[in-house]
Structures are given as C-alpha cells and as structure tokens.
C-alpha cells in the first residue's frame, strides 16, 4: 500500500501541540507524472543499452523506484528530548513523532 500521509507531531511541555499532516499523495502525483514522462526515455535507453547488459538493470531500477515508495508505509521516528535547563534555568521537554502512513 502506497503511503498517503506524513504526520509530524511536536509536543512541547507547557506549549500547544503541533500536529501537521502532509499529503504525500500530492507528491506521488507529481512524481508519477514525472516518471510517466520519463518512461519513453527510459525504454529507449534500455533498448539502446540492451546489448551491453544495461537495459535490464535500467528497467529493474525504474520498477524498484515504485517498490521503494510503496515500502515507505509504516516508517516511524520518535525523538523524546528530556527537560534541558536554559541559561535562565527554564527549559522544556520536547517529543517529536514522524510517521508515514
């Protein structure tokens, strides 16, 4: 399943929580259009380089880009920073979550 959203959530002690959903599907639409435009060139390059054994690798690499994008789903990064006192003695703990769904 291709990931559709990138969620960024920042929680800071004593402050408003920030939750930011980034629509990845818009980026995929653009990337899809770009890859579709490049397809004839890739096919031509693969055809021309086939005798040297590069054509197959080129086509596989093209397909692998889609596999890589589809595999991004489920990627998660959590960073939990403890309270760090500043110069004035104040400081906030911050938790950052980044999830690709």
């Amino acid at each position: 399943m291709i990931p559709l959203w990138l969620w960024v959530r920042v929680e800071e002690d004593g402050k408003r929580h920030l939750s930011l959903p980034i629509p990845l599907f818009l980026a995929w639409l653009l990337l899809g259009a770009l890859l579709l435009l490049l397809l004839p060139l890739v096919l031509l390059a693969a055809l021309l380089s086939w005798p040297w054994g590069w054509g197959r690798a080129l086509l596989q690499m093209y397909v692998q880009i889609f596999v890589l994008i589809a595999s991004l789903s489920g990627l998660r990064l959590d960073i939990d920073s403890p309270v760090k006192a500043g110069r004035d003695g104040s400081g906030q703990g911050r938790t950052t979550h980044v999830v690709i769904r």
């Binding site: 690798a57 596989q60 690499m61 692998q64 596999v67 890589l68 589809a70 595999s71 991004l72 789903s73 489920g74 990627l75 998660r76 990064l77 959590d78 960073i79 939990d80 920073s81 403890p82 760090k84």
Partner: protein, 144 residues
C-alpha cells in the same frame, strides 16, 4: 510439536513429492529446481507465525545519563530490502571500488556476491543487537 516444526515437516513433505516426481520423470530437472526454490521461499502458511515486519532501532540514555535523548526508529523491512536491492544496480567497476573501500575500512563485504538471501541473512544477524556507546547511551537493534 511447535508451529515451526509443523512448517518444516510440510516443507520436507513437499520437497519429497517434487523429488519423487523427478524420479518418475514427470518433471524435468529445471522444473524440479524451480519448484524446490518456490517451496523454500514460500511464505508461512495461514495461521503460522508471521515473520518480522519492522526493523527497530532504540537509542536510550545509559542509566546514569539524564540528559540524553530517546530515539525510536521503526523501519519497514520491505524498505530495507528495497533499498539494499539498489546495491545490485551499481556498475561492476564502481562495485569493485566500493568493495576495496569497504575492505580498507575493515568491512569484509562483497557487493559482487550480494543477493536477496544475503539481505535476509543480514537482517537475521541484525536481530537483537545491543551496542553501548561510551556509557552514554544504549543502542538496541531488533526485528519485530
């Protein structure tokens, strides 16, 4: 008997059937080879224990360290596999250069003989690895 034993027994039974078919000349050697490869790579049967899906990396401060950050990274294993597959697209000349550089750094890793089985072996060996970094933080790598 565990689920793993059951799966092994079923796999051996299938392999035996393939070899019998080969002995009876019902299939060719090439067909048998393909079938044996398919049986070995078959996913676990429904109801069986599913394989790990994610590679987890946990970074935690050492017991005495109160200022360290806690980091939790969950990487889908499919992403690791897809990324590592890109290694096979590196041109032969570049591969030799990478190999020599890796060897120089003390990593005996040969990209020329790198395939899907190596990826699986690498992931299995990564499972449940704990590294302590200078007493400041503990890094734990495991699959789940």
């Amino acid at each position: 008997m565990s689920l793993y034993d059951n799966k092994e027994e079923t796999m051996n039974e299938e392999k035996r059937k393939i070899l019998e078919m080969l002995a009876d000349k019902k299939i060719t050697v090439d067909d048998a080879e393909k079938l044996l490869a398919a049986v070995s790579e078959a996913p676990p049967a429904a109801g069986g224990t599913p394989g790990p899906k994610y590679l987890r990396v946990l970074v935690e401060p050492a017991p005495g360290n109160k200022e360290g950050d806690r980091v939790n990274v969950r990487v889908p294993l499919n992403l690791v596999r897809a990324g590592l597959k890109f290694a096979s697209f590196i041109p032969a000349q570049a591969r030799d250069k990478v190999n020599s550089e890796l060897k120089e750094k003390g990593v005996p890793f040969d990209l020329n003989h790198f395939d899907a089985r190596d990826v699986e072996a690498l992931l299995v060996h990564l499972n449940d690895l704990t590294v302590e970094v200078e007493g400041k933080e503990n890094v734990r790598v495991f699959c789940e």
